[in-house]
């Protein structure tokens, strides 16, 4: 069972308790449905490939 996700306090102060409750429930729900069965070691990722950061002629 995944733990509840919490909205940061400064955001809570701005948007109030009703929106906060809805948002934390939605965040907890999507986090709980994520398949985290990742068992790889060094993983490729588009974010960190060196080519992403290389300039092209």
């Amino acid at each position: 069972m995944i733990e509840k996700r919490e909205i940061p306090e400064d955001i809570v102060a701005l948007v109030g308790p009703k929106k906060t409750m809805e948002a934390r429930n939605k965040a907890s729900d999507m986090a709980s449905k994520l398949d985290r069965n990742n068992r790889w070691s060094q993983e490729p990722s588009h974010v960190f490939r060196a080519i992403t950061w290389s300039g092209k002629p």
Partner: protein, 469 residues
């Protein structure tokens, strides 16, 4: 001749090239139609007919001088209002960017202009391509061209409504969780999210860097292939841009699909979610047509929709909150209610959630690559039902997530929305054709074969009727 506003872009370009149609005549006809009807459909945020007519006159002079012409010479187009055009406001349909006027064209805008197309207007969107339909923003939300009381899809709402209404022959939208394919679905259009990296996003306001795509909405397969050919290409200003050859996406439109192996993901709409009966029937009929065209259709299974949706939402909201973090704290009251509600869960996600989702995404993409070892294309549902009444927020929240588009933002595969008929209320129904990475040509081949066997794309809304609902 077909009424000017129902000409396809390629038909119009051909008539202009052969001097049978003046760009001024075409632009004027569309501008008058927009002027008459858009007050009922709200597709446009910015509309500059005078400027477009000046450019149309210049285009006409170029034709008369016998100069070389681009493939869309003299054809008007529209841009979702998150895509920059020099000197035009890019508002993202938001109070936050009301006065934002970029000094340069987005990559895709410049490509369309180079092809000779004329910008006629900037189009309504959900706020920052996420929050909507909204009634608390500086501009009203776009409405469905087939019945103005109904949702036109989103977030590229104005792009869908304007092309279906005959205001434009082509428009650009963006797609992060399905926002080209949703308005294509609800307005009876073709709309593609090409392979991630195929089309540059530089000059486009980001929603989620690793999921955003730009794509065309059109009334025909041929126009869609043509427009994608024009806007594709490597761009040094988009780090995700792919340096890969651009084929002629229309090269196989007349090749037929005999012998192709097409996978059908049925569990998306019969098990993971349950689509309306009319949608399931329309999909069954569409599959029969593909089989009559000679394709071999077999059911294929993948993960449940909910797993793709969770992966998409965690990545999308984490990246979106990174973009909006400062404004969320300093200009909270300037956000529309819908966007604020959709963004807020992102502030509660953890760094581990985000990284896990990215790792999961790589596995999902690999799983689809393996499926495509055995299939040329996949078909599945687009929305679970036709458009719904847009002024009921409960219905919007209920039906908005009922779709099967997010898997292909997650995996990056091309996904093309295709009209497959209408329901009893006269609202369009749609399916998706999905193909291997960078094989958009195959998606268009399947779509063209299907289109040639159906008459759906010859139906148009009668705006005198649909604006009166």
């Amino acid at each position: 001749m077909t009424e000017l506003h129902w000409l396809s872009a390629s038909e119009a370009a051909q008539l202009i090239k052969s001097k049978k149609l003046s760009p001024v005549e075409l632009t004027d006809a569309l501008a008058k139609r927009i002027d008459k009807y858009d007050k009922y459909f709200n597709a446009f945020i910015s509309f500059r007919p005078e400027q477009a007519l000046i450019e149309a006159k210049q285009a006409e002079e170029k034709v008369m001088r016998g100069e070389p012409l681009g493939p869309l010479h003299g054809v008007p187009f529209g841009l979702k209002d998150i895509i920059d055009a020099e000197g035009w406001p890019t508002t993202a349909h938001s109070k936050l960017l009301r006065d934002n006027v970029p000094g340069a064209d987005a990559f895709v805008t410049s490509k369309l202009k180079e092809a000779g197309a004329i910008l006629l207007g900037k189009l309504s969107t959900h706020e920052f391509a996420l929050g909507g339909p909204s009634f608390d923003l500086p501009w009203p939300p776009a409405r469905n061209a087939w019945n103005r009381r109904y949702f036109p899809g989103g977030s590229s709402s104005g792009s869908g409504a304007s092309v279906a209404a005959g205001f434009l022959t082509l428009a650009l939208g963006s797609d992060t969780g399905g926002s080209v394919r949703n308005p294509a679905s609800m307005n009876g259009l073709f709309g593609i999210k090409a392979t991630y990296g195929r089309v540059s996003r530089s000059g486009v306001i980001p929603l989620s860097f690793s999921l955003d795509h730009v794509g065309p909405l059109t009334r025909t397969t041929h126009d869609n292939a043509l427009e994608l050919s024009i806007i594709s290409g490597w761009d040094k200003n988009d780090p995700a841009s792919a340096d890969i050859a651009i084929p002629d996406f229309s090269q196989d439109l007349n090749k037929g699909i005999s012998g192709l192996k097409i996978g059908l993901i049925r569990h998306f709409y019969t098990n993971d979610m349950v689509a309306s009966d009319e949608m399931v029937t329309a999909l069954d009929d569409a599959v029969s047509i593909l089989e009559k065209c000679g394709a071999i259709v077999e059911e294929v299974s993948t993960r449940p929709l909910q797993e793709f949706a969770a992966c998409n939402r965690v990545i999308l909201l984490s990246e979106a909150c990174s973009i909006h973090n400062d404004w969320l704290k300093t200009r909270t009251e300037d956000y529309g209610e819908s966007l604020l509600s959709r963004l807020l869960p992102g502030t509660a996600l953890t760094a581990v959630d985000y990284v896990d989702a990215i790792r999961t995404r790589a596995r999902f993409a690999q799983e689809f690559n393996e499926i495509f070892q055995n299939f040329d294309a996949i078909v599945t549902v687009n929305n679970m039902e036709a458009a719904f009444p847009m002024e009921d927020p409960v219905l919007c929240e209920k039906f908005y997530p009922r779709q099967a588009r997010t898997p292909f933002n997650v995996t990056g595969n091309p996904a093309l929305a295709i009209p497959i008929g209408f329901n009893e209320e006269g609202l369009p129904l749609s399916m998706q054709v999905v193909t291997p990475q960078f094989d958009e040509t195959m998606a268009y081949r399947v779509a063209a074969s299907f289109e040639s066997q159906t008459e759906w794309t010859r139906h148009h809304p009668n705006l005198d009727e649909t604006s009166a609902y």
